[in-house]
């Protein structure tokens, strides 16, 4: 479980996060949504330690991550997997080396065992025969799947996905969404997804956190979101007329 308490973060004079508090439960898919510039990515970056918070607590199973130094954070970091918006695969390494990276760096497993783990992770994301390819040889969807395979290689307890559907076609987006959902349930991971994709919100969101101008504006389930009277949230979720009509015609 991850708890964030009263998170504040500013860059120079600009206050980006204003007292965000929430709880993300184990085995659930938690979605952070909001317009561009609402603070979603900053919140995720604070939670994984890429940005330091100005004040507040980030508790990973009661361990206060925000107030630990670099070395004290390492055991928690090993429990975190992250899929980046652009996949962030290491260009100079093959797919196999990318997925094996943290196993090589942090474990003393024999090579055969590491290779088995890599093959398992790649098959879990439905990728085969790509071990020797370089990231530049893969499509956007394949890169995302390799990113997920790399994120789950160390069997993380917490999985972060920063806009996993950006730049993907609708069909591949659904494949990635389903994969994230399946992995979350299968390994009982606490997953946090930062997204703009309304299909993801409706399909995989167990808990949805809506940020507006750096504040927590609304929180609830994907069922609640369909009947909310929160104006900003409605404006955001139903910005697409087509999406709104589709929801209404299907009586969802």
């Amino acid at each position: 479980m991850i708890e964030i308490k009263d998170i504040y973060k500013s860059f120079d004079d600009k206050q980006v996060l204003k007292g965000i508090t929430s709880t993300f439960k184990e085995g659930s898919c938690n979605l952070i949504i909001g317009a561009s510039g609402s603070g979603k990515t900053t919140l995720i970056k604070c939670m994984v330690g890429l940005h330091e918070v100005d004040s507040g607590e980030i508790l990973y199973n009661d361990r206060d991550f925000a107030n630990l130094d670099f070395h004290e954070r390492i055991p928690i970091r090993k429990e975190i997997g992250m899929l980046f918006q652009g996949s962030a695969l290491f260009d100079s390494l093959t797919v196999q080396e990318n997925v094996m990276f943290s196993l090589n760096m942090f474990t003393e497993m024999p090579n055969s065992e590491k290779l088995d783990r890599v093959n398992f992770c790649l098959s879990r994301v439905n990728l085969e025969n790509v071990n020797k390819k370089f990231p530049a040889e893969l499509s956007g969807g394949m890169k995302k799947r390799v990113g997920i395979a790399r994120a789950i290689a160390m069997q993380p307890k917490y999985l972060y996905c920063d806009e996993p559907n950006s730049g993907l076609d609708p069909k591949t987006s659904i494949v990635i969404d389903n994969l994230i959902k399946e992995i979350t349930e299968e390994y009982n991971i606490t997953t946090i997804v930062n997204t703009h994709d309304m299909n993801s919100v409706m399909e995989i969101g167990d808990n949805i956190l809506f940020l507006h101008k750096g504040e927590k504006w609304w929180e609830g389930s994907s069922k609640d979101i369909r009947h909310t009277h929160n104006k900003e949230l409605n404006d955001f979720v139903f910005a697409s007329k087509f999406f709104k009509e589709a929801m209404e015609s299907n009586n969802l």
């Binding site: 390492i74 970091r77 980046f84 652009g86 962030a88 695969l89 290491f90 260009d91 760096m105």
Partner: protein, 244 residues
């Protein structure tokens, strides 16, 4: 501003020189960088070295107008210039352009494509993993390149002297063997090591703090070359003052 960058550079170097998480993993990176910096630069260093020696010989011969000075002096001057200045300094300036821009753009691209963030989320000390192997590879391979360069420069001088008829091979070799001071070799090697550290660390610094996109990666790369060249020439003067 200068002190701001100096402070950031020192902190980055401190983080880079921390004990690696796993030496065996870093070792592979060091070898990879040695191949990139060392083997990858042999071609350009060979070409410039031969011509540096050739030009030094021809121009020295042109300026030797007195019959009282033996022609073997040409060999001696080419040797001393190659060891002390041409191979280490000109070689380093060329390497700042080739290797420095390569390091800055490589690390800069990793920064803007979130690859460095990915390392940090994993718990890897990213300055250590990315910069330390480059510094070790640089201070190992660049002095070796300088040694190769010295030999080729002297060889280039001998060939040019023969071809132009400015000095015979035997006179040139007599000059090479005359009055050799070991301090020249020491100064040349000290320069090579200092320049290697400047090129790799300054370029890594420029790349590591790149912000933005492709345009900024290009700017970092250019800045890495410019700053490295200025620091190399500044260090050249300091080392010359201290050692000679």
């Amino acid at each position: 501003m200068l002190f701001y960058h100096l402070g950031k550079y020192v902190l980055l170097m401190k983080a880079s020189l921390k004990r690696p998480e796993k030496w065996s993993f870093y070792w592979k990176e060091i070898i990879r960088e040695m191949v990139s910096i060392g083997v990858g630069s042999v071609g350009i260093i060979s070409i410039i070295s031969i011509f540096m020696g050739a030009v030094t010989t021809v121009q020295t011969a042109f300026q030797l107008v007195s019959n009282l000075i033996p022609l073997s002096v040409i060999g001696q001057i080419t040797r001393d210039n190659s060891i002390l200045e041409l191979s280490p300094t000109i070689g380093a300036l060329v390497l700042a352009g080739k290797t420095g821009s390569n390091i800055a753009s490589q690390i800069g691209t990793m920064r803007v494509t979130e690859q460095i963030d990915a390392l940090e989320v994993m718990g890897v000390n990213s300055p250590g993993y990315l910069i330390l192997p480059k510094i070790i590879a640089g201070i190992t391979m660049i002095p070796m390149l300088v040694i190769v360069s010295v030999f080729l420069s002297i060889l280039g001088g001998m060939i040019a002297g023969n071809l132009s008829g400015a000095v015979t091979q035997s006179e040139y070799i007599t000059g090479l063997q005359a009055d050799f001071k070991t301090i020249l070799l020491t100064a040349g090697m000290v320069k090579a090591i200092v320049y290697a550290f400047i090129i790799t660390s300054v370029s890594s610094y420029q790349g590591f703090y790149t912000e933005g996109g492709a345009l900024e990666v290009g700017e970092s790369s250019t800045r890495a070359v410019v700053v490295s060249c200025i620091l190399i020439l500044f260090a050249d003067y300091i080392i010359a003052q201290l050692l000679l």
